[in-house]
């Protein structure tokens, strides 16, 4: 599992280290340049000083022609640099006429005048030379690059070692800060992990930090929705239990009546009631399965081109007894795009509903405009009481004008199916009496 804390720590420590490293490099480069500049200035200064001392004859040089004499050795004024700074005085014809203590005996440079670098006795030297034509000598002052590098290294070391010592301490401070910064997340995790599955109370949302508040609000919203869904499910289960157990109780009671009674008439009535009860129960089971099917999230609509009135006729073919009460008004050639399964489900329930709630004729009208399919189911029953209208789409809700066979699921199924197809179902009481259920849905055809 990837931890945000580890991630934060890694990023912070790595970036801090990188900044330190860049700073050290920058200091190294700039120190080196500065040391170079200062030491070069010293070389120039020292060379000029020796040159002027020669001119004033403060240094006695060995005679150029005296081959036996050793070159004059002299001391440069700055004692702290005596080991580093070397000076040679050469005559223009190539004889070493003087040199400082510890200076190498080989010629420091072959260049005429100005700065140059050369390797003498395996050591690299930086040399400044001045030619003095009046005295016929060349003054060379140089220092070893090795010494220079050591100087720069000492300066950088003096900076880098404290920095390296500070880094672990800094890492510790970062670790503690990250830990403290993450504590609201840990608290949330703790309070969630110790929760029972049934505990859907919202998490406390006061004094929340800005970053965690959206997560908490989203979680609380989710809890609320789960709670609502669970409540709906509980009500649905209670209703379903009632709706399924009641007809079973009816069947059992009638069967016991048939067994207990010797009277032929009672017997026959009980058996007739059992047959009717089985019909009702099987319709209810079919509707519950329909509802489960239409509510199944994986059932996406599969629109196809077809003739809507064919769907109506197919439904009516399954209800031979009710068929003659239903009239269909439709253009038989009109083609529309719709999901035949969902439309059949919706229309079957609306037509059954109309037949249940009225004695008279039921008319199904199909109107097929260019982009819209409209199907109206009209009956001549009592309609729906105005204050029941908002509740009729609820599962198992049976209006006051209850029928003997309804389960209160038909309208819920029809609405669910139509909404799935992107349409709407509206109910309207007719004048003088009856109900009109209107399906309206997008049904774009290729034409």
């Amino acid at each position: 599992m990837r931890s945000i804390r580890t991630r934060l720590l890694t990023i912070l420590i790595a970036s801090t280290g990188l900044v330190w490293l860049l700073a050290v490099m920058w200091i190294y480069v700039s120190t080196q340049a500065e040391v170079e500049r200062v030491l070069d200035a010293r070389l120039t200064e020292a060379a000029r000083m020796v040159n002027s001392l020669l001119a004033e004859q403060r240094i006695e040089l060995a005679l150029a022609d005296d081959r036996e004499s050793r070159p004059t050795e002299f001391q440069l004024q700055d004692p702290s640099y005596e080991r580093q700074l070397s000076c040679q005085i050469w005559s223009l014809d190539g004889t070493l006429v003087g040199r400082s203590e510890h200076a190498p005996e080989d010629r420091l440079t072959d260049a005429g005048s100005g700065f140059s670098e050369s390797v003498v006795d395996g050591e690299t030297w930086r040399v400044y030379a001045i030619e003095n034509p009046d005295l016929g000598v060349r003054v060379m002052v140089g220092d070893s690059l090795h010494v220079r590098d050591r100087l720069v290294g000492d300066v950088v070391k003096g900076l880098a070692i404290p920095a390296a010592l500070i880094l672990p301490f800094l890492a510790g401070v970062i670790w503690i800060s990250v830990r403290r910064g993450m504590s609201p997340l840990n608290q949330m995790a703790d309070s969630l992990s110790s929760r029972a599955a049934s505990d859907l109370r919202p998490l406390p949302d006061d004094n929340l930090s800005k970053e965690i508040a959206p997560a908490i609000h989203a979680l609380n919203g989710l809890f609320r929705r789960v709670e609502e869904a669970r409540e709906r499910e509980k009500i649905f289960t209670a209703f379903a239990a009632h709706e399924l157990k009641t007809p079973l109780a009816g069947l059992k009671t009638q069967a016991q009546v048939a067994l207990a009674s010797q009277n032929g008439e009672v017997h026959e009535n009980a058996l007739r009631q059992i047959a009717a009860g089985v019909d009702r129960t099987s319709r209810l089971v079919r509707q519950l399965l329909d509802l489960a099917a239409v509510e199944g999230t994986d059932r996406a609509p599969h629109p196809a081109e077809g003739v809507p009135s064919d769907v109506v006729r197919r439904i009516l073919a399954d209800m031979p007894a009710a068929g003659e009460r239903v009239g269909v008004e439709a253009d038989d050639k009109a083609v529309a795009r719709f999901d035949p399964v969902l439309l059949e489900l919706a229309l079957r329930n609306l037509i059954e509903n109309a037949l249940c709630h009225s004695e008279g004729k039921v008319v199904v009208r199909v109107r097929n405009a260019r982009h819209n399919l409209e199907v109206v189911v009209e009956d001549e029953g009592f309609g729906i009481a105005t204050d029941d209208l908002p509740r009729v789409f609820e599962r198992f809700f049976r209006g006051r004008t209850q029928s003997q066979t309804g389960s209160g699921l038909g309208l819920a199924i029809a609405q669910e199916a139509i909404v799935r197809m992107g349409g709407t179902l509206t109910l309207r009481n007719r004048n003088p009496h009856g109900l009109a259920a209107t399906i309206s849905m997008p049904a774009q055809t290729a034409k």
């Binding site: 399924l244 109780a249 009671t253 009638q254 009546v257 009535n269 009980a270 059992i274």
Partner: protein
């Protein structure tokens, strides 16, 4: 005994009417709360069998309607919602018993009898008076240890009297407990049944109180 059954499922309602009728009850059957209120206002019942989920409300509303009117008629609740908390809610609302669907008809009849018996203050299911014993559960009767053959109506009249020993029972009340709404009350029917009972149990067993009704003979007389 006349009982009211409130149940909206037509098959079950029909089955209950027939089945409880066979068990010796006179059954009035209604399908809505509204009809139940009307029936309870018009008539007093030995017991009410009440479904909880009704199309126009809850059976608990009918129950509280009864109890608010200080009506102590025993109530047996009939419901598919038989979780423990549902039972508790029903019993606490004033119900006497609770039967979950689907149920056994004989058990329901026994529970209705038990509720009625407790409502009337009897401990035993067998009614006894001056050597006559009535068993409402089996609908059998005996007189001084020997089986006694009674018609359904005769049994009903004797039972109504033996449930209130010593008290004078009005003729109208006897008629009520014998005939439901659907049945036409035959004139003089009660007199005929009393006459037949007297011929089986002795002329002095049932006394006529003129203008008021009937009562059983004093015990020991």
């Amino acid at each position: 005994m006349r009982i009211l059954v409130v149940e909206d499922d037509p098959v079950l309602l029909d089955g209950l009417s027939a089945g409880l009728g066979l068990a010796g009850f006179t059954v009035d059957a209604v399908a809505t709360c509204e009809d139940a209120y009307a029936a309870l206002k018009a008539q007093s019942y030995g017991t009410v069998v009440l479904d909880l989920m009704l199309p126009d409300g809850s059976g608990l509303d009918v129950l509280s309607f009864l109890r608010q009117r200080k009506n102590a008629t025993p109530v047996v609740l009939l419901t598919a919602r038989d979780q423990v908390q549902d039972r508790i809610a029903g019993l606490d609302a004033g119900a006497d018993d609770y039967v979950g669907k689907p149920f056994d008809l004989d058990e329901l009849a026994a529970r209705v009898r038990a509720a009625a018996r407790r409502g009337a203050g009897h401990a035993s299911g067998i009614l006894e008076w001056c050597g006559v014993a009535l068993d409402p559960a089996r609908q059998t009767a005996s007189f001084e240890g020997k089986p006694l053959s009674l018609t359904r109506r005769e049994f009903g009249v004797l039972r109504a009297l033996m449930e209130r020993p010593g008290a004078t029972v009005p003729k109208a009340m006897l008629e009520d407990s014998l005939y439901g709404w659907q049945e036409e009350v035959e004139s003089n029917a009660v007199e005929v049944h009393v006459h037949n009972l007297r011929s089986k149990l002795g002329a002095g067993f049932i006394k006529t109180v003129r203008g008021l009704g009937y009562r059983l003979a004093e015990e020991g007389s």
